[in-house]
Symmetry: C2
Subunit: 87 residues, 2 copies
């Protein structure tokens, strides 16, 4: 998106990485909010910023409550992983 296409890898320039984080985080939260409202669902989103600070977002319920809903599921119910990407 934007003026150029960004290669999908870590942005090495510190300033650029922080600016991109700031903007994309806001975009991601907006999308999460829209999905929650349009589809009437619980969402929790947890992010640790490049500087290590926590950023979290939730809709309809508190983040902690959504997490509890997650934690209280059995392993089999929790098994529906979409992706787990480890680098």
């Amino acid at each position: 998106m934007g003026r150029n296409k960004l290669p999908m890898k870590r942005i090495e320039n510190n300033t650029s990485r922080l600016v991109t984080f700031c903007k994309r985080r806001n975009g991601l939260i907006k999308k999460a909010y829209e999905l929650s409202v349009l589809c009437d669902i619980d969402i929790a989103l947890i992010m640790f910023s490049p500087s290590g600070r926590l950023n979290h977002f939730s809709c309809k319920r508190r983040t902690e409550d959504v997490l509890n809903r997650f934690v209280n599921l059995s392993d089999s119910e929790r098994g529906r992983y979409l992706y787990t990407i480890s680098i």
Copy 2:
């Protein structure tokens, strides 16, 4: 986005709501993945589908590990809430 602009409220038609969930969930996961890679950060995303099924996603670490990182923060550190929208 798309052919028409959607009003920001619950989609009442059941089929439409499920189709929209399916598509936007995939888009949200893609965005979360990109943010994690570009900015080199931990992310966890938890969603309960309209049918009540869990969908979760994480990058770099397992969802459970990101949640633990969240849970282990003190209240003050956790205080940086961006938004909490209760309906």
